[in-house]
Amino acid sequence: MDKLMPLDEAVARYVQDGMVIAMGTGLESCIPFAAGHEMIRQGRRNLALVGPISDILFDQLIGAGCVSHVAAAWVGNVGAGIAYNFRRAMEEGIPQPLAIEDHSNLTVALAVSAAAQGVPYLPTRTALGSDIVRDHPRVREVTCPFTGERLLAVGALRPDLTVLHVQRCDRHGNAHLWGNLGISLDAARAAGAVLLTCEEVVADEVIRRDPNRTLVPGFLVSAVVVVPYGSHPSPTQGYVNRDGPFYDEYHAETQTREGFLAWLDRMVLTTGGHAGYLRRLGDTRVAGLRPRAARLAVPVNYGF
């Protein structure tokens, strides 16, 4: 089945107000910024975002007023530390109050893994004694039925939608990913639907030539959108490097609410789409983010 469609159509079809959405599951890489920006442009509201380390994408969606809940281990700016929209929402309820379900990276990963496996919880030894798990809606202390040990049970967290940015996939959504994977694979398996943005769509044959690299099978995927630089400013290995200065510029510009609103207007609301966003960045800057040299893997032999 051909699932290719433009970004605005994919977001219009698959992202509804109030949904639980896992994004930024790659941990610092392949963060689906372009898809998040389209959610802002289409004015989605009351989203519940799920992700371990969310990069500044969560901060942008929070500042734009799209978010009422976050379940995460860390909400900040991977380059500069503090994320100001997150702080304003948590401390002052600006632009709206934000409910947070705090996690460690492993507890949020296990919550999503439990959903991916179709079980109500998974046990763990992590986070015992931490205030994070005190009175937690999704983490309970349990006694192991086999050993009698004290463990934590992490309840399943099932996203309605997972959004991933990947290097390449075919038009059915069979996706090749490489580099660090974070919780992307479990997030895809756990979700009710998956929206893929990719650097390039390739022929079915390219995927089948290297099936070990197909880490998201197409039967999980609802929509495929070609969005080169769709993870900017985060990197996509082999296609786009991190735009380091962007994080510092964003940090400086968004320190005040007014500063953020000006940033949002310039970089998201008035761009008309991702192509317009890239034009605002400028051709030189965008071209400079391409890898300077290729580092190709040695082919593997699937012969028989």
């Binding site: 610092e28 990276n105 492993l106 986070a127 004694g129 660090n180 990197p235």
Partner: protein, 243 residues
């Protein structure tokens, strides 16, 4: 501080590296005295060489290129939970006398300040065989008791970790901008072991929120060697982490 962090890594150890300064500490250790150390990164990266080029975060492409393995968060953290990780690195907004860390809520006077949160820190603190904490040393960052316990040290003191169900671990060192601390095995309290060149014990005391113990044979922290400085300059050419 980076050189001191690097010296905490022994050859052949499995190291949970974490973010910022420890990235550089791991690179220094790997290049000098710990050529067989292996680094784990919570995004799914396993490396046994320094990054292919200077990096800001663990997700930067030079940390992936040339890695031993790239996998998932749960895969890498399973080594941590199993008990294979010898040492993990941590930092935070606050550390207290028992080595508990807060990276969730801080305060300026009456005002509550929301920090980014745990990330992988609570996991590293709970599950590593030992941890090393790196902190900028200011009085507000060294309170007697953390306002919020994000990542467990020794909790309220002896036997606390066992009582809450933690099977191993706890902080072995705190490397601050003023000195290096160990932990007393009986009381589980932080003990000043050395001061950095030019720093006095009085200065450390005035910047610490409790009456901190000092080892009778208090020393001076060894200055970075020429080799350590050379490696630092190679991996942090712009002085981003080392000024």
């Amino acid at each position: 501080m980076v050189a001191a962090a690097a010296r905490e890594i022994r050859d052949g150890e499995l190291v949970f590296v974490g973010m910022r300064l420890p990235l550089l500490g791991f690179a220094v250790a790997r290049a000098l005295h710990a050529p067989r150390a292996v680094g784990l990164f919570e995004n799914g990266v396993i490396r046994d060489t320094p990054p292919s080029a200077p990096i800001i975060t663990m997700g930067d492409p030079p940390n992936i290129a040339g890695a031993v393995a790239c996998t998932t968060l749960v895969d890498v953290m399973s080594h941590l939970q199993w008990g294979r990780v010898d040492v993990g690195f941590l930092g935070g907004a606050e550390v207290d006398r028992y080595g508990n860390l807060n990276t969730t809520w801080a305060a300026e006077g009456e005002r509550r300040i929301r920090l980014p949160g745990s990330g992988g820190a609570a996991d590293i603190a709970a599950l590593s065989r030992r941890t090393v904490i790196i902190m900028h040393h200011e009085r507000r960052r060294f309170p007697e008791r953390v306002r919020y316990l994000t990542s467990p040290g020794y909790g309220t003191g002896p036997a606390w970790r066992e009582t809450v169900g933690l099977r191993r671990g706890g902080p072995s060192r705190v490397i601050s901008s003023l000195g290096i601390f160990g932990f007393d095995p009986a009381s589980c309290e932080m003990v000043l072991e050395s001061v950095h060149p030019g720093v006095t014990v009085e200065e450390v005391r005035s910047q610490t929120g409790w009456a901190v113990s000092v080892r009778p044979d208090l020393g001076e922290t060894r200055e970075p060697s020429r080799d350590e400085l050379d490696v630092l300059r190679r991996f942090d050419p712009d002085g981003l982490w080392t000024g």
